[in-house]
């Protein structure tokens, strides 16, 4: 039914946790952001966790920084810093970082 490759759950997160985009295109400020993005999506697509589990950490991390679209704070952590912290939390919770 669909030949679309990108998962809507990832591409269309509705709130402040949504992927930063300009003219519809993803915004990465450095290669580390691109790689952190790929890690989180790849491990989900491989079935290590549901996207909503990762997203819950992401929402919580952004909320803890106290930032909202109405009250942006450029001194707070950037989007992919929240993303990276959420990825680490998800992987730890799933035991994927254990030796």
């Amino acid at each position: 039914m669909t030949d679309r490759l990108a998962k809507p759950a990832v591409a269309e997160m509705p709130g402040i946790e949504g992927l930063p985009r300009k003219s519809g295109e993803l915004v990465f400020h450095g290669d580390w952001e691109r790689r952190a993005f790929a890690l989180a999506v790849a491990l989900c697509e491989q079935g290590h966790y549901d996207w909503d589990e990762f997203r819950a950490y992401l929402i919580a991390s952004i909320a803890a920084a106290g930032e909202s679209p109405a009250a942006p704070n450029p001194a707070a952590p950037g989007y992919y810093e929240h993303w990276l912290a959420s990825l680490e939390r998800t992987l730890t919770a799933k035991g994927l970082l254990a030796p």
């Binding site: 400020h29 790689r35 890690l39």
Partner: protein
């Protein structure tokens, strides 16, 4: 003008949510620490055999190419190739777009309007910047600008000419005013000479501007 009731206060989520994360926030030194942190995590997962670098590269390519305006382009390409799909799209665009797996609309109805040799459609939101962002990504700056929003209604031919699109006097121009409830998408004319192209090749020809109606598609 398309008739609609427009919400006056615009106090609800009918445009793309403003995203505060579009500008970089960290110094070079801070970025270097983040680079190292990701590299370490990536290497650990690769060493454990959990992911491969090829998989990661593939994911990035998919997401960089597959969201935003490409969604709308796939809808257009499918309609060009599949007459039944086109009928469904013109009859109930919301359902036909969902068939391709594109969701994310927040209760708005999608309406697709078809260009032909006789009719050219163009989309605006005169009051703010209502836009079908799940299929077109985020709106371009000019779409949100007051001059476009007012002038495309008063002088559509003149504004389209400024975009480089000159229409013959025999072509009827229809301007569609998006609203909180209804989002329009233009189905552009399929260019001649594309009979042998695949759906993916056709989708690659379709531009955001053509789906707003300020351009035609050319080879």
């Amino acid at each position: 003008m398309a008739d609609h009731e427009h919400d006056r206060d615009h106090g609800h989520a009918h445009t793309a949510p403003p995203n505060p994360y579009l500008e970089p926030r960290r110094s070079a030194a801070e970025t270097q620490a983040l680079e190292a942190r990701v590299a370490k995590l990536e290497q650990l997962l690769i060493d454990k055999g959990i992911v491969s670098r090829a998989t990661l590269d593939h994911i990035v390519a998919v997401y960089e190419n597959d969201i935003g305006p490409m969604n709308g382009a796939r809808v257009v390409a499918r309609a060009w190739l599949d007459a039944d799909y086109k009928q469904r799209l013109l009859h109930d665009a919301t359902a036909a777009i969902a068939e391709l797996g594109f969701s994310g609309l927040q209760g708005e109805h999608m309406v697709v309007v078809e260009n032909s040799a006789q009719v050219h459609n163009v989309v605006v939101c005169t009051l703010c910047s209502c836009y079908p962002w799940p299929v077109l990504g985020l709106p371009p700056a000019w779409y949100k600008s007051p001059p476009y929003r007012s002038r495309i209604v008063i002088d559509p031919r003149g504004v389209l000419a400024e975009f480089g699109l000159t229409l013959g006097e025999d072509v009827e121009v229809r301007v569609w005013d998006s609203s909180a409830e209804i989002r329009y998408l233009v189905l552009p004319e399929r260019p001649a000479g594309t009979e042998r192209l695949s759906e993916a090749e056709l989708a690659a020809l379709v531009t955001r501007d053509a789906m707003i109606g300020v351009a035609k598609i050319s080879l």
